[in-house]
């Protein structure tokens, strides 16, 4: 039985560098505490070499040149820890969440998938580096030995069974995670490394340090055995970014969003999942353009944070961060936040990725990811409600449809249903008697409807005037009465007519309308009883 441990040294700093990769390589200092009592809680090697010490105040640190100063973000650490767990779950289902910077995996049964323990350790290191952190990975026959090796040795360490004591012996006593007082006591005894601790007699050690001493002795020998405490699998994927300076424009914002999306997509890839929906939340700062009254109202709300939320639901799960960024950008362009952004929180709903198994005989349709991007661009051009597919509603109202989202699900040739067969049979029977083939006539709708002036003679329209044109009615068919939903405010009560109108005899009333309408056409005109007026709904074409 073997266990692997992933440990992230300088976890606070690495989680920050993960969010801001540009900081990698520069002297970095992390401050924590309540303002103005900020003090240094972490500093990387470059900063320490420059003279920075832990516990320094912010004013002392600002004296150093070329040292980047950042504030500790628990949200970023939480996200980095979640990402680390995702890496572990991508390799083994048995994972222990040992500490924020340490994860232990059970490697039992993984040899058939990854090969030897070295390969598994290398794979873990590669996957961890993909999420933006540089890990220490150790493999040992028991959990505690693996944890100690990962904390003490850089890079990849493999400890064969039986060699734990020899390999761990050189590690300093501070590697053990126990009380500081116990460690100081051991140092006063002259015990500085694990080998020296392992050489002490157990009985005398237990007399002086109690049960804790025995446990430390076992740890130093690499002989302590315990069972794995399994972590509960989580499907919550979220990343946060607190900004030092607020962002107002979309261009710099898209860089930050792209970074978050990259991180989320890397995590999802580790879990073999894809994005189904993106939830964006911005915490906004009050805009300077607000008037005094608005500021007063704001102050009354006792620091109520202003938020901007956006949910982007995708028709198919996708994991391409570039495509997702374009979609988010287009969505934000159409509805931008009103104030500068202080904090970004991005969460995604995960779903299994789309299985691209198309029908052998069905024609190839548009690529769903590309099409979603095209639809988003079209929505930006013509408006979100003006792109999609029409869905017919079960009503007799004239505009009996609503716009729905394109799903592109139906991509197989239509089956010949009995309804279609019946319709085609009727058309064929009618056509048999004629030389020509019949197709359904087209009808063009006027949106909005045009008001018309109609003269009635012999109980039918005889003359129609609309849109600067007037003509005689050559033939009429109607009235076709339609009414419904009288109990609602937008109920309708109409008398429809199909009118063949000849504009040639009377012509146009205005010069500019001369070519707008044909000399002859069949129009659908209706009398709206509630409004007591005539309207043109459209014409046959």
């Amino acid at each position: 039985m073997a266990f692997a441990c992933i440990h992230i040294p300088d976890f606070m700093l690495q989680s920050l560098v993960r969010s801001e990769p540009a900081l990698r390589g520069s002297a970095l200092v992390l401050l924590n505490g309540k303002p103005p009592l900020w003090s240094v809680v972490a500093a990387n090697t470059a900063a320490l070499q420059a003279g920075v010490q832990l516990g320094m105040t912010k004013s002392q640190v600002t004296e150093f040149c070329n040292v980047e100063i950042r504030h500790r973000s628990e949200a970023q650490e939480k996200a980095a820890h979640a990402a680390l767990l995702d890496v572990a779950w991508s390799v083994s289902p048995r994972v222990e969440d040992t500490a924020a910077d340490t994860i232990v995996l059970d490697l039992k049964g993984l040899a058939s998938l990854f090969g030897a323990d070295e390969n598994i350790a290398r794979e873990l290191a590669q996957r961890a580096s993909r999420i933006g952190v540089i890990p220490h990975v150790a493999v040992a026959s028991n959990i505690e030995a693996a944890v100690l090796a990962a904390r003490g040795f850089a890079g990849i360490t493999i400890i064969p069974a039986g060699e734990e004591c020899a390999r761990l012996g050189g590690l300093p006593i501070r590697t053990l995670s126990t009380d500081v007082e116990v460690l100081e006591t051991l140092e006063r005894w002259g015990v500085h490394c694990l080998r020296e601790l392992a050489a002490l007699p157990v009985l005398q050690l237990s007399e002086r340090l109690g049960q804790n001493g025995v446990q430390l002795h076992e740890l130093a020998r690499g002989a302590r055995v315990r069972s794995l405490v399994l972590a509960e699998v989580s499907l919550h994927f979220a990343e946060e970014l607190e900004l030092e300076d607020s962002v107002e424009e979309l261009e710099p914002l898209s860089f930050l969003l792209g970074r978050l999306l990259d991180q989320l997509c890397a995590r999802l890839e580790a879990r073999a999942l894809a994005v189904r929906a993106i939830h964006i939340r911005f915490e906004l700062e009050p805009s300077f353009e607000k008037d005094v009254q608005a500021l007063k109202d704001e102050s009354r709300k006792k620091n109520a944070p202003k938020e901007y939320t956006k949910v982007l639901t995708l028709p198919v799960p996708m994991r391409d961060s570039k495509v997702l960024l374009k979609l988010v950008r287009l969505s934000l362009q159409s509805d931008p936040p009103k104030s500068p952004i202080q904090k970004i929180v991005m969460a995604v709903d995960a779903a299994p990725p789309r299985v691209a198994q198309s029908d052998l005989f069905a024609p190839k349709g548009p690529d769903p990811e590309k099409l979603e991007l095209t639809i988003a661009r079209l929505a930006k051009l013509v408006g979100e409600t003006n792109v999609g597919v029409a869905e017919l509603l079960d009503t007799h109202r004239a505009e009996n449809f609503r716009m729905a989202r394109w799903t592109g699900s139906a991509n197989s040739p239509q089956k010949k249903t009995s309804k279609n067969r019946k319709k085609n049979a009727v058309l064929r029977d009618d056509a048999k008697s004629l030389e020509t083939r019949r197709v359904a006539s087209g009808f063009r709708v006027m949106r909005p409807v045009i008001a018309a002036r109609v003269e009635i003679g012999e109980a039918r329209p005889v003359r129609v005037c609309f849109a600067g044109m007037q003509g005689d009615v050559v033939a009429a068919s109607g009235p076709w009465r339609s009414s419904g939903e009288w109990w609602q405010e937008d109920g309708w009560d109409q008398d429809e007519w199909d009118l063949a109108i000849d504009f040639g005899s009377r012509g146009c009333l205005r010069e500019k309308d001369a070519n707008a309408w044909p000399q002859y056409g069949v129009y659908r005109i209706y009398y709206d009883a509630p409004r007591r007026n005539w309207f043109v709904r459209g014409f046959y074409d």
Partner: protein
């Protein structure tokens, strides 16, 4: 000998310069051979073969001339074959109910409701660049001809180039043909006056209905007879198309007398 070696050197230099941009600059490529699909109207298919893929087709005619009937028929035929289609509606005049009656599978038709010609052209560009659609129909019927006339020729060239070598049919419906040589097939439609189904007096003792037929408006709209003329066709079929009018297939000029391509009837439903 010297001339031939010079020509060979020149040829190799041109090929070297165009490497990566043009695959084989000296190989003639016939751009007029298209895959043809049905319009859904046998008369039109018999006359012009159908709609060419990877090319632009213009359907023109005045209002009430049957353009929408042909458009719906083509959309119905494509969606029935399981293809995804897109309709760019320049003036938001598409009637989904009538389209459904004509057999269009609405769940496979992406409808873009524009407000003007500029939006429509931009939307068309996006859809063609996106790719994957079997038919992209651009309905400019309700845009005044003088506005469509001002669409620069390079826009039409851009559309033609974008659909070239793709399985997409680009169909533009308008009042006048404007794409000039960019269109591989141009059809002009014309409708005859509407036909009406007169009410017939019922046999038997029903007196009230018999009284009703004395009114002239007691009738139903039956339909229209629509004739289609070929203004221009540079379509040569890739498959064995039984060309009924070979002269049309090989015609490239635009000043010729239009051929009567086919007559069909659109019935009111």
């Amino acid at each position: 000998m010297a001339a031939s070696s010079l020509a060979a050197a020149l040829r190799s230099k041109i090929e070297l310069d165009l490497r990566g941009r043009v695959l084989s600059p000296f190989n003639y490529r016939d751009r007029n051979i298209f895959e043809i699909v049905s319009t859904g109207i046998p008369e039109i298919d018999a006359a012009v073969g159908g709609l060419p893929r990877g090319a632009m087709t213009e359907i023109c005619g005045p209002p009430c001339s049957g353009r929408t009937s042909l458009l719906l028929s083509a959309l119905a035929a494509r969606t029935a074959d399981g293809e995804a289609c897109a309709l760019v509606d320049a003036r938001d005049s598409f009637d989904p109910h009538q389209a459904s009656t004509a057999g269009v599978a609405l769940n496979q038709l992406l409808w873009v409701r524009c407000q003007n010609a500029d939006q429509a052209l931009r939307a068309t560009d996006l859809l063609i660049q996106g790719g994957g659609f079997g038919l992209v129909a651009v309905d400019l019927s309700d845009i005044a001809p003088k506005i469509v006339r001002y669409v620069p020729l390079n826009a039409w060239f851009r559309f033609r180039r974008a659909v070239e070598d793709t399985p997409t049919i680009l169909m533009v419906v308008e009042q006048e043909a404007n794409a000039k040589t960019c269109a591989s097939l141009v059809l002009r439609l014309k409708a005859q006056p509407a036909e009406w189904k007169e009410a017939v007096a019922p046999q038997g003792p029903v007196r009230d209905l018999r009284d009703l037929v004395k009114y002239s408006f007691a009738r139903l709209l039956k339909g229209f007879e629509i004739s289609a003329d070929v203004v221009r066709s540079r379509v040569q079929c890739a498959n064995d198309w039984p060309s009924t009018n070979e002269n049309v297939a090989n015609e490239f000029g635009s000043k010729r007398t239009p051929d009567r391509a086919g007559v069909f009837e659109a019935v009111a439903m």
